[in-house]
């Protein structure tokens, strides 16, 4: 057998996933249980995002896949190839050209627009999981809007370290109601979540989908006297000079010498291109 249905999943399964997505969009930040399927890549490697993308894609879409902000990371390549093979959609590395972007751990630096959908891969969708291991318990806490435990955790961070010791997967509150895990993006990306594009979150192993409609209010949890701060390395990109993008630290020699470069490869490459263009 060589031919699979468009985007691998059968139409009934896609319909089931679309229903979960619509429910998620109707109740922003609420984790909708869905009957996650076994995909041909391992759980934990983006099966939730892949299923959401599969249910979202149409033959006219142009897809971009990034991991750690980069199009050329191994797992991003693997997922991109999967959709090229099973859905025959156009693919691109240019953020502006993509209609569906699947991401792991980053939000692109370039602002997204209303015609775009950003699909996140989510490992642990439950923001309260490491405070309370039981799923029935955490669902109850969400239902009762009982988020005291989370605030106590953040407070204890401050009393112990003088700062909130969460640097990625920093919890947010959606439209004043649900506390939501933004997936393991660095907290630098949190403010970008109030955006024009639709944001969909898929957790395959944990069988959950959640969503943010465009322009949803997303507030990073904090205290009046310890306001949230979207931090990044205090440098500019070595390659394109950007001082407003999230940076990766790269070790370049045996002496531990290091440089900082943009994690968003498309953003960095297009800035380098522009520079070259204006120089010549």
């Amino acid at each position: 057998m060589n031919e699979y249905n468009f985007a691998y999943l059968d139409e009934q399964t896609k319909r089931m996933i679309r229903r979960a997505i619509l429910k998620g969009l109707a109740i922003p930040g609420y984790q909708v249980p869905f009957a996650s399927r076994e995909m041909p890549m391992p759980y934990g490697w983006g099966t939730g995002g892949v299923q959401v993308s599969a249910a979202t894609l149409t033959p006219n879409d142009t897809m971009k896949v990034i991991d750690q902000g980069a199009d050329d990371t191994t797992n991003a390549i693997s997922i991109r190839k999967f959709f090229q093979k099973t859905a025959h959609v156009e693919v691109t590395e240019v953020t502006k050209e993509a209609s569906v972007i699947q991401t792991r751990h980053r939000i692109p630096e370039t602002d997204l627009n209303e015609d775009q959908i950003l699909v996140y891969q989510v490992p642990i969708p439950e923001p309260l999981r490491f405070l309370e291991p039981s799923e029935p318990e955490t669902r109850k806490m969400h239902a009762l809007e009982e988020y005291g435990l989370m605030h106590v955790k953040l407070y204890e961070d401050i009393s112990r370290h003088g700062a909130i010791a969460t640097s990625y997967a920093y919890p947010v509150k959606v439209e004043g109601r649900y506390v939501m895990d933004p997936s393991p993006i660095p907290k630098f990306d949190n403010p970008k979540m109030e955006m024009s594009a639709i944001q969909l979150f898929g957790a395959g192993r944990e069988q959950r989908i959640y969503a943010l409609p465009p322009y949803t209010k997303v507030v990073s949890l904090d205290f009046d006297d310890f306001p949230f701060e979207a931090s990044k390395a205090d440098h500019a990109c070595e390659l394109c000079g950007a001082d407003n993008s999230y940076l990766d630290e790269v070790i370049v020699d045996d002496q531990g010498g290091r440089i900082f470069v943009c994690s968003d490869t498309d953003f960095c490459a297009s800035r380098q291109q522009e520079k070259k263009g204006s120089a010549s």
């Binding site: 050329d72 390549i77 997967a169 069988q207």
Partner: protein, 364 residues
């Protein structure tokens, strides 16, 4: 000058080509055929079918070949393939009473109608490496019985039932929920728990069962009966108005008999644990029955002893080796973005701790 890493696509292609070469091994050695795997590694095929939740010995054998003998990888291949298959209905409950048994033993009665039938078992073999097998793999002909086994050997627990000594299980013709088509929500029905256990990792279920034997929610289990054989799978066809047999599958069934002291509503009686697994999967089905019994504490009004095997959420959420292996191995994937944010945080915290220490010193 530093150039961002490129060429991942080529690297992946090359890695896969190398993998294929490794899978084949030395090309001067004969290649394994699917038939050979199916016939001579049949217990591996059985495990892959059971945990892959797909009864197809040919595909399971192919998966074992493709995965270089890594059974969890083979199970994964089968599961991913299974996703693409349509579900077109549910069969009638298989009637294991009508199983054509190749093995049927009871540890609770010396003899019972139907007899003790050892069948092809490793039990009582001395685990001595058979060096002769290395050179000559031919097997002696096993003697053939004078008459075939009956096709309707009654269940041992049925005899206990007659005296009312064992708890009755409610019967139902309703199609149970399908764990693979609906999200697991807790508390789960017993049918769902059993589905989860039968496709759960053999090692995990074994470890859980063993823990109950060693005192974590101890409930001594007797193997009331263990049987292996073929059963017919029948399905009601609405257009026909009756059921037809659509195939035959091999199953291993285990019913344990456990003590029960009685509760406010129930007199003292025996209770059961149940295991049912594709193929010849004896260890798995016994382990499954023990874990099933341990998970029934609430329904039987027993105490929650806080043992891992009693914790439905713990057992069901961690039994699946495809979920577990995927999440475990995903930490190989790049995490430099998260790690970078941790680097910055720890530098900041250390800076602040330093400044605080200097202030302290200055004050002294």
């Amino acid at each position: 000058m530093y150039v961002a890493v490129k060429g991942g696509e080529k690297a992946i292609d090359n890695a896969h080509a190398w993998l294929a070469e490794e899978r084949r091994g030395d090309p001067s050695i004969d290649e394994l055929s699917i038939e050979q795997i199916k016939e001579q590694l049949s217990l591996a095929v059985n495990r892959v079918m059971a945990e892959g939740s797909l009864y197809d010995p040919d595909l399971a054998a192919l998966a074992i070949k493709q995965s270089r003998g890594d059974l969890i990888e083979a199970i994964f291949l089968l599961r991913a393939y299974r996703t693409t298959l349509p579900r077109f209905g549910s069969s009638r409950a298989v009637d294991t009473e009508k199983m054509s048994c190749i093995r049927r033993i009871s540890a609770t009665f010396k003899d019972a109608p139907g007899g003790q039938v050892l069948g092809p078992t490793f039990d009582y073999t001395h685990r001595l490496l058979d060096f002769k097998l290395a050179a000559d793999g031919d097997a002696p002909d096993a003697e053939i019985a004078n008459e075939p086994l009956a096709n309707d050997i009654p269940h041992i627990t049925g005899y206990l039932n007659k005296e009312g000594l064992i708890q009755q299980e409610p019967s139902s013709d309703a199609s149970p929920q399908d764990l693979t088509r609906e999200p697991l929500e807790l508390p789960a029905s017993r049918a769902l728990r059993l589905q989860s256990l039968t496709r759960g990792d053999e090692g995990f279920i074994l470890g859980m069962a063993y823990s109950t034997q060693r005192g974590y929610a101890r409930n001594h289990a007797f193997v009331g009966e263990l049987r292996i054989g073929d059963v017919a799978v029948e399905m009601d066809i609405p257009e026909l108005g009756f059921a037809i047999q659509i195939g035959e599958i091999e199953l291993t069934e285990c019913e344990t008999v456990n003590q029960f002291q009685g509760s406010k509503t129930e007199p003292p009686q025996f209770t059961r644990g149940y295991g049912l697994v594709f193929g010849q999967s004896e260890r798995k089905s016994i382990a499954m029955a023990l874990v099933d019994r341990a998970l029934r504490w609430k329904e039987l009004g027993e105490d929650n002893l806080g043992a891992p095997a009693q914790d439905e959420e713990f057992v069901l959420y961690h039994a699946d080796n495809i979920q577990a292996t995927g999440f475990l191995e995903h930490i190989k994937l790049p995490h430099y973005v998260d790690f970078q944010s941790e680097l910055e945080l720890i530098r900041k915290l250390r800076r602040e701790a330093d400044e605080f220490a200097q202030l302290q010193e200055a004050a002294e």
